[in-house]
Amino acid sequence: MTDKQCPLCGELNPDDETICWKCGSSLDHRESVDLNPEEHQTPAELVDAFRKFDLETGQNEEVEGPSNSFSEGETFSPEEDEFWLKRMRELSLGDAEDSEDFDEPDHMDISDENIPPWLKAVDPTRKQEPAAEADEEWGDMRFDTSSGEVSRFSIESTDDRQEEKYAEISDELSEDELPGWLTRLTRSHVSSAEEKEEPAQEEITPTSDNQDWLHDLIGAQGEAKEKTPDEESSILEGGQAIQDVGEQGEAEEDDAFIFSLFSEPEDSAGGMEGVPPSEEEIEPGAQGFEGFSDALTSAKTEEVAFSAEEKPAADGPVQDEDESAEQMIDWLAEDQPASEPSDTETGPASEAEADEALGETYPEFPLAVGEETQDWSQVMESLDITESAIEEELPNWMSLQNEIMGEEAEISPEQLPGGEFVVDEAEQEPSPEMESAFEATMDSSFAASEALDAAAEAEAATEDEKVPPEISPDEARTDMPFKGEDLLAWMHDLREEEIKKAEGEGSAEAPPSKKEGIPDWFEEEEAASQEASEKEEVLERGDLPTWLSAIRPIEAVIPEDIKQLDEKKVEQAGPLAGLRAVIPAQEDAIHYGKPPVYSVRLQVSEKQRAHAAMLEDILDAEGQAPAEKRKRKTKSQYILRLFIALVILAAAVLPYFDIAVGSIPLNAGASSRLQAFSTTIDSIPQGATVLLGVDFAPGYSGEMNVVAGGVLARLMSRGIHIAVISTTPTGPALAEGLMDQTLSKMPDYAAQYAQPDWYINLGYLPGETASLKEFAQQPRQAVIYGMKAGLSNALVWDTAGLNGINKISDFSAVILVTENLENGRAWIEQVQPMMNDVPLLAASSAQSAPLLQPYVQSGQIQAILAGLPEGLVYGQQTQPAGSQDLAWSSYQNALLISILVILVGALVAGVISMFTGSKSSQEV
């Protein structure tokens, strides 16, 4: 089942649906309305087609009422015109379901915002609104459909009321507000309205009271010979446009419809010039004013082309009708910004000139049928309206229409909303009368539009895109109701000629035609917009702080590419189908782009970058060790060190050369510490077993051999079994050496203590602190084999000297021989608690004595023998006298020399520092 495409919005709907799910429009196939002017004999036919076309339903409906068909020679009755205009209006408003029930008010209050003032003034039935309401853009312009009048700007009316209106309008609206040509036309109409009461001879007959002028214009086609065809056509078109505008009810459509008048150059003798196509000619499916606007726009285009073709000789080479159509319609633009900078003369003066020019050329507007009309082309020439100026000042809605008529018009008939406005421009061949009429009309409109454009351009320097000045006929839209290259060619040619004239003059000033005829209200509007833009420029931009600007994302600063309206692009769907330069709603609504990802890039300057690099280097250097500054060794320091060493060495050696030999003082052993140690050793009973813990380093063997040797000698002399154990690997070996040295000095005890019963070397006790604790608790399990057991299985505890030793407290005494605090502490902490009343003695070196003294004072160590002197003194008890004197002398001499060196060195250093300090202070 194929889907149906909504003619209005273009959405796909199921085939069985009749109403579009999106926009609610009818999906029924609309019979195409051929709006090709060439297909219709007269404009009346086209109008009839429009009348039949139901914009709401998109179908051709038979409209009850007067005859809906226009045939050649058939004239419109006022009722018929009124009816189809009403019909159009009602459809645009969308109020009534049934057009027949539409109760047309006498005065349709069209929104003032959309109706230009000059158009409003054309409405003869329009109520005169107070002056206060003139603040709106289009002021108080109203179009009265019943009377066909536009308030404040009535075009023509034979009614006195209308005349009054005209007078009022003229009074209300200043010359600056209304284009001059329109004003003059109004006046002329008023003046001639009474005289001319000829009914419309052509197809379109004006209504009784308000559309006479329109029909007069239309009827002027039949009397084109009497008048200038251009003028007649322009009048008709203008009038018809105004009439249609009133029915439509919206200013934009009104204006657009006016253009459609110019797009019907084919109107023959009976045809309406500038009459919008009838409903018959309009393809079914066209809905609303969107399609109608397209028709109007295309009509404009064709009209421009037509007018251009009509005056090839006067206006120069024939230009493309499409381009001419766009350009010619530009003058009716609402908000057409000025784009050409060439126009300099602006303001009321230029506008007045334009009005004056138009007024002189067209003193009467609208002109009744048969009335002599001005040569619009001449007016255009006099006004010197350039084509480009008109294009640049083209308001949005007009530019959109230009797009529809413009270059890339490729909307197929099916794409158009509501139907197909297929107008084959090539087939359409305007009649000479039509051409002349169109040309005249277009001349006037062209001149006015250019004047308007020039004024607006001079006041507001906008940056809108410029409508390309020239539009080739090939670029003409194919969806216009009145398409036809021939139709628009004359209009385009006309525009081209005007442009060339304007360029040929080379005047920097805007052509007077641009200024003239531009209503003041338009200028005011441009001025207001210009002021707004200036105000924006006046505003000072805030200064961002440096730190904030540094972290501002660059992508946020870079202006996004403003999506420029592609004026060549023609909207293909939706209510704006056929228009140009339309903001694409459908595409943007569907396609969602990925949001931009802003990358925050810190903007740093070179200075900041250098500082950051410096900081990085500093931080990297933190992990690197500084390079050592190698001090240069000075010879003085080397000599001094050598001297001191030699002195001390000499002092130690001299006694051995019988120099400075001293003797141990007799009272050396009277120290309390030595006495306590001696007392404790002497309290050990003979035959007892004493445990000797040898835990000193080999480097201290010289001192410890002296200290421990005396103790061993004493123990040997008392006949005490000596058990040696060590927690250091070198201990057992050192113990053996100590024993051998002692025995060498006591040869009498050598043989006794050579036996294993008297001297038991328990060996190495691994585990340090933990093994000591184990040994203290279970000695036999801690030590199994002795030092001298070797690979034998002899148990060390089987010796006689260790009989009865099952625990640490079974020893008579424990003597600790150590040079460091850790070993001594380990024995004190692990073994001493298990010893109960067994004394713990210590034979230590001089360096550990101060550290072990607290333990002595605390009672954990009963006695201590520390240092070489005490050992030498204690050894005299067992050694023969004088055997220790050399050692004693050497020690004392070395010690004395050392003290002297220290004192002398300190003194010298102090003196030197005193002098250096004084020097530094003096230098400061």
Partner: protein, 225 residues
């Protein structure tokens, strides 16, 4: 005096002189001597471990011991082998068990001994100084008290010296309390005296070593010549 004794005596003399060559600064001769000492010590230790530990505690029970001795010997053997795994990064996690056992056991023994042997003992000894009834110095109660006070003062001030808790008041620099600063100054004196005493003891030990070596050289020279 045998030839061996003479040889070893000469070797000892040579090594002693080589060590004394350090008097002229670091030199290769001195380094050779130190290297020899390290090597000899390592070899001697290895021998001691083999004869004093490996054989009697592991090898012998496994080889000729009873079943119970073998079981008891396997446990340390396995743990010892696992401990060797610490040398290889791939299997080092295997040595975590014996290592943890050793660390835990050592920590327990050390901590227990420190508390019972040092803290309690030293505290008891300090208190004993103020035992007017006992007195460390017999017959001199005042001296005992003074000594006790001195010891106590030194102990407290030394401990205060190592207290680094400080505060900042306003814009003033961070500093300790005034009374803490005073006590720390006194403790600093005691610490300085203690360090001096330690240095003196070390120097005395070195002098003693020098005297011993000088005497040895003299004896060797006398014996040779």
């Amino acid at each position: 005096m045998t030839l061996a004794d003479i040889i070893w005596m000469l070797v000892s003399l040579l090594l002693t002189l080589l060590v004394l060559s350090y008097l002229f600064g670091d030199n290769p001769v001195f380094r050779i001597t130190t290297y020899i000492f390290v090597g000899v010590a390592a070899g001697y230790v290895a021998t001691i471990v083999l004869y004093q530990v490996m054989w009697p505690r592991i090898l012998r029970p496994l080889l000729i011991g009873s079943f119970g001795e073998r079981i008891f010997a396997l446990i340390p053997l396995i743990l010892g082998v696992l401990l060797l795994a610490r040398l290889f990064p791939d299997i080092s996690p295997l040595g975590t068990l014996p290592m943890s056992y050793l660390v835990g056991l050592g920590a327990a023994v050390t901590i227990g001994g420190s508390i019972l042997g040092t803290i309690f003992g030293q505290s008891k000894g300090t208190f004993a100084l103020f035992n007017l009834s006992a007195g460390t110095v017999p017959g001199n109660l005042l001296a005992s008290l003074v000594m006790g006070a001195l010891v106590l003062l030194g102990t407290i001030t030394t401990l205060v010296y190592f207290q680094f808790t400080a505060s900042q008041k306003g814009q003033q620099p961070v500093q300790r309390a005034h009374w803490i600063e005073v006590l720390s100054r006194i403790g600093q004196v005691f610490i300085v005296i203690t360090l001096g005493a330690l240095f003196a003891g070390v120097y005395l030990a070195t002098i003693a070593a020098l005297v011993d070596r000088v005497g040895f050289i003299r004896d060797v020279v006398v014996r040779l010549f």
